[in-house]
């Protein structure tokens, strides 16, 4: 019973992730749904499967996949997001502000912590 509910929730969230990836306006927001909803969905699905199998080995495997996905999804999102900013993927027109603008060094791929125009001595606002 509980396993059924988990499986349904999981499948639903994966569908939400797919809809999000299909209709979100820019790449960064697509990444949002991809990392959060898809990972969450597959996590629930695996949890449901872990409950369904009356076998400890398999349940442990399902949990291992779940943990692995939860660890790797943010890393993958970080890599894609970083690459996206480098190749200049456009932000959605409704984006309000962009603190990253002009802070990457295009040659060395280094990232400054503040813009060059500000004095280097002042502390960042908390």
């Amino acid at each position: 019973m509980l396993a059924d509910i988990f499986i349904l929730i999981g499948a639903f969230f994966m569908l939400v992730a797919a809809i999000g990836v299909y209709r979100m306006p820019d790449l960064y927001m697509r990444l949002h749904t991809n990392t959060k909803s898809a990972t969450f969905g597959v996590g629930f699905l695996l949890l449901g499967a872990a409950f369904r199998f009356q076998n400890l080995d398999i349940s442990a495997r399902a949990l291992a996949i779940m943990i692995f996905l939860f660890v790797t999804a943010p890393v993958a999102a970080h890599m894609i997001g970083r690459a996206a900013y480098f190749v200049g993927a456009p932000l959605w027109k409704g984006t309000l502000s962009d603190d990253l603008k002009g802070r990457y060094d295009p040659k060395t791929h280094e990232l400054m912590s503040k813009s060059k125009t500000r004095k280097t001595g002042d502390k960042p606002t908390k």
């Binding site: 059924d4 999981g10 790449l27 898809a38 695996l46 499967a49 080995d57 996206a84 190749v87 993927a89």
Partner: protein, 91 residues
């Protein structure tokens, strides 16, 4: 097939279709940006495949599919990272 499994398979199929549509969608963006878009779609498809395999393993009680899901989880992550890295550095 129980109702729950059927419903879950149904939802996942629609999700897969949507991800696929995003994958083949043409855009007028430069090459590297549209490729990154596709990497996102592919990453989602890999996650969906893991879901499919899990469901199939539950449905048929063939536990081998769980092993396949483990391997896919490992490889999909590597693939995504490699793609992103290549698109960032390579020119």
């Amino acid at each position: 097939m129980s109702f729950v499994n059927f419903a879950a398979f149904f939802l996942l199929t629609i999700a897969f279709l949507l991800a696929f549509l995003r994958l083949i969608k043409r855009s007028n963006q430069p090459h590297r940006i549209s490729t990154l878009d596709r990497v996102v779609a592919l990453d989602l498809m890999a996650t969906l495949s893991i879901g499919f395999m899990t469901l199939y393993a539950v449905e048929t009680q063939k536990t081998v599919f769980m092993d396949a899901a483990v391997i896919l989880a490992l490889i999909a992550f590597l693939g995504t990272v490699a793609f992103a890295r290549y698109l960032e550095k390579g020119n």
